[in-house]
Symmetry: D3
Subunit: 261 residues, 6 copies
């Protein structure tokens, strides 16, 4: 793996994402590595706590618009639609880890990265960090089966607000809403995560795993029912003029103008 | 329409309820107009934000006990029961608007009006306002399929408390519980709602609508299952002595005395 | 209304669809009339049984590919997507009639017509009739929130088979699968439906309505959750090459050739 | 107990209901004994199969209209409503027995008795027997939380038909619909039940119990959600003129005439 | 009853648990008495509010490890598993009381006692009290079908944290999370509960009961589905080395060392 | 792969399982290969139909009691429990293939093999074949999250009967119950499956995939909720005396005698 390093220390796995640029954007390659790390951790029965952290000062800028690998001109529609499973598969791979998963968030946590931590169990945000979902503002829906996870976490009204408005959520608000469970000082997210992980790791492993899986089975009981088609909504929105306009405006550094087409 | 005026301004619809008396009680005629406005707005695909506000200093006193139109002596049981669909149909008509719906609440928001805003997406309460559900105190159940909406919004414990006790909920508590999403200064509810609506209206319309509908499909997944019979509970409670006693005591300005019959 | 006539006779409403050509295809105008008839019947509290029948020897050919009104070149994406609500709204309007709804099916019952009767309560098929869903074969998904209704009615395996294969289902198989509840002789579907409706109409109306609504609330409990996005899948599929190929092949009377694009 | 005798034989409990008149109507006293027998059997961990049978040629005529104990003139509304829990509590007590419960049905199985066997696991009907739900015909709803059980068992369309029409279901139809799982010769229902029970009793007890409880948890997952208010619908319907008319017509041996009131 | 006294005062029932030692641990006998009190209160239609309180300064230490009655060496596996129903049956008996149930919590509320109050409607915690679930730390899962109740009450993330970490939750945090609904001064929990109960008791009883049951039906809609097997997880965990180690360490007053076996 | 060969032919994948002995028992190695084949097929977007067949005259004898690889004496409890995910992961891998999956069943289809085909879309059984679940008879529960799949497929009553009794289900009964969708002549299961697959493969691929996934999302909506703990029930049952007795009796070719321990 190029961007992920995993260190296993007793019952704790420490997963570091580093793109080397402090932005840690989720390129296709990065997402493959994250998904495969999640799958690998599902196969580690002796681990009870997993920390996901990044370096360079920011958790992640989310999907990487500049990542040319995302666009494969040779792919037919079926193949393109299949490629769009990577994001939800990555989130699902992390959600299904039986160990207690902890996100240590420094700086910004944007878009797909926010979706990823919504599939985790405990989120620690440094006080200079923030959360943001820019998708709607870009003309695409929030997919990756994230909406049911957010509804379970922060309720329907705040989910609508968070997903739709595409605005920054500052640490105190993130904590009050339930987007994160703990605030910590700048540069202390990993340390706080490690302290939490150590409390988990000292416990008998079997009921730790049982608890997590039952809470997930309860809280996400209807997630597949309600969101299994969101990939096709994504396929629809990326064909709209509004999406193309938002991308163009982004690269041209101007305000977009949306028409509904 | 006698009591509702709707002004459409770009992607924003501004719906004003005015009964002219500052109480804005929900007479049968008012509810028909509100329901029909909701249905009309469902048919406006280019709108992405809807504001509901009232004038005269109070959002609404809820159902209008003095509204003689509610009692049709000629109606048989089937017709009477059919008339009782008006309230839930009004709420459902507003819930199913695909645009983001925003309630601007000045002063009190009582009973059926609280049920109506529970079917909306974002609630702004002025600091001199309050929320109250008097139904249980009057001997009738809280119907209109409102209970599942409240459980999704404020959780089971606060729903029991809010619905049962029939007591005022002051702004800070309303915000903490999640009954409303924003507090604002007196007479600023509409302005705050407009500011919010403009943030929504600047976004690409298609994913805004998708988001709302998916959150609703998730949060209300079991609402019809759990509350489709609440109209028949209502039909039962309005035949009780306790309901009659509560109405009599209200008009006689005395304390009611309940027997369970 | 041009194509629908409704005759109310005591507790029974008899709704006849007649396009005058024996095909009774569901043009946009026809669907509007059917939807509005469903909504009107929701407002008839004294009716307990509704018969839907057609004339000319066939129930309905389903959506009318030749219906130019379905394609409005001026419509933007939001408006086009809104127009696509007509089919699901029509089905929902019939499903929500509180009276017991009975389909009298002579001859073929295809596509959207099969979706419509899946939203009804009792289906009588004449022995020279058949059911068929051609949608998948045409490159579009089966939408109108029909799949959950079929799963409740005929189970998951037969739903996959019926929806996917796009093949005729003959009367005996339709009965065995549960696609219809009764077979009758040619030209006797209406008479059988009337006999059934009269058994219902002789019963006390209130519990008849209660029963229907509770069975629907139970059987369709998760329908909105699982299918609320199927309209967007439809919007996606109608943009595919495969859909265009299927339409072209239909008009050119040749076999289509599908590529997955 | 006056009407119930329970004989425990190894892992099999044989419960006989005998009112001594061949009708075995469900008087209040009978229902209390049945409920208490169900609760007692929940506390027998070593039993894996339970047979419920009756004597006198008929399984049960259902609720006993002539049973004066059902009408307590002193009871206030709360107490009367509480008494109406007896039926659903009886069904629930049998449903929650962890052992495999088998109904041996000779002759007719009517109304509340049909509701009771719907809460059991396996139903054997003698070829001269039949099933019938007369409730709707009497002007009352089918309560006791029976509708979700029937929907799980025979699907939504047949549930509507069975519950609404109040007509006899003959053995072959009962088997085809799934109302019963086995037909047997006249006077052989108990023998067939015993043969089935012995097959169950020969199996390891723990997974037998696990299987039953998981199937019930799956098939009835939403039963409480969808039917918890059906007792209040019952309280409403017994106050209607149509109910009173149906009772009067029954005792006056004439056809009832229903008005919807 | 040895440890429970119930005083009924108009529409209010006051249930006092007193073991006489200030710990009020939940011995098997205590749990039987609590369960039977819950069942008895289900049969009191005229009561609308129930207070559960204890004496001696602490609400309850939870299950009583020293209670020899819990271990019956003669019991076979089926009987032992049946005995393990006592806890969930106790919680269910209290959840199903139709009256509004209020827990008055002084001092600590631990383990099974926290599970019990999660099955109640309103929780008042004195400011010197705390909540704690030690089960996972002891090597056993949190059973009694408590996890779905907690998820409905405090959301998935705090449920994972509360159940897994086995740590004290102080009053302010308990209130913020939604573990309790009200804080009160030391020794004032009963008085506050009584004041709350009196507000409930002054209301018309019928809709009070309706409200509670519908909120429960909504909030716990999937509880049986998601947790009906948790007793078997318990049966599995009590056979582990880690459970035995935790008990041994407890009695030997040393730190346990867990291996995952 | 040692036992699986996959041949891809246009839009059809033909997967053959051959252990070379005509029994095709599901050894651990076989299950790994089947799981990995399912995962591989999830990654083939251009395939729309998958046939699973075996050679040697029988579909599969199910889990291989003689497979020493299943028992790893070095594994701790966490590792052993992790190994028990292989069965459910295999079924899930096949259920989540987006293509239409068809089982061609010659001869017997037992235990885990029956669980596997329950996760597929269409089942063809040769007339000399049969289905059987021996698990309960062996003292273990039916796990692999199979029970919800069976309830969706054959309803609750037949699921209880099929799972519990551990008896052969002959072809006609299997078809009537819905355990399989088609019967065919001896040695014709593959040919029939191929004919079916070719009908699917001729259709536009995108809506074929959409249909399957939506039916699964609907029919299995609550499967994870209701069965996520069944692995722990399995862990419990394999420690019972009854399980050991059943294995011993099997190898000693005698009747087992069960005690409930």
């Amino acid at each position: 793996m190029d961007f992920i390093t995993t260190k296993i220390d007793g019952r704790i796995a420490k997963v570091k994402l580093s793109r080397g640029d402090g932005r840690n954007a989720l390129s296709q390659q990065t997402m493959i590595e994250l998904r495969d790390t999640g799958l690998m951790l599902q196969d580690q029965p002796n681990i009870t706590a997993v920390i996901l952290y990044t370096d360079g000062g920011n958790f992640s800028a989310g999907a990487d618009l500049a990542d040319s690998a995302q666009f494969d001109d040779e792919a037919n529609l079926l193949e393109l639609r299949h490629m769009m499973k990577l994001g939800p598969d990555m989130c699902k791979a992390w959600e299904d880890i039986e160990a207690y998963t902890i996100a240590a968030i420094e700086g910004y946590c944007i878009g797909g990265a926010s979706a990823l931590v919504a599939a985790m169990d405990y989120r620690i945000l440094s006080k200079n960090g923030h959360m943001r979902l820019p998708e709607i503002g870009l003309g695409i829906n929030m997919s990756w089966q994230t909406i049911p996870r957010l509804v379970a976490q922060i309720g329907p009204a705040r989910t609508k607000q968070y997903v739709t408005l595409s605005e920054k959520i500052e640490p105190t608000e993130a904590l009050n809403w339930g987007l994160v469970e703990e605030l910590t000082d700048k540069d202390k997210a990993f340390d706080s995560a490690l302290a939490f992980a150590e409390r988990v790791a000292a416990l008998p492993p079997l009921p730790v795993k049982m608890t997590k899986m039952t809470v997930n089975a309860t809280a996400n009981a209807l997630s597949q029912a309600t969101s299994h088609m969101d990939r096709d909504q994504y396929m629809l929105t990326i064909q709209t003029q509004d999406f193309k306009e938002s991308v163009a405006a982004f690269f041209e550094k101007r305000e977009p103008s949306f028409t509904g087409n």
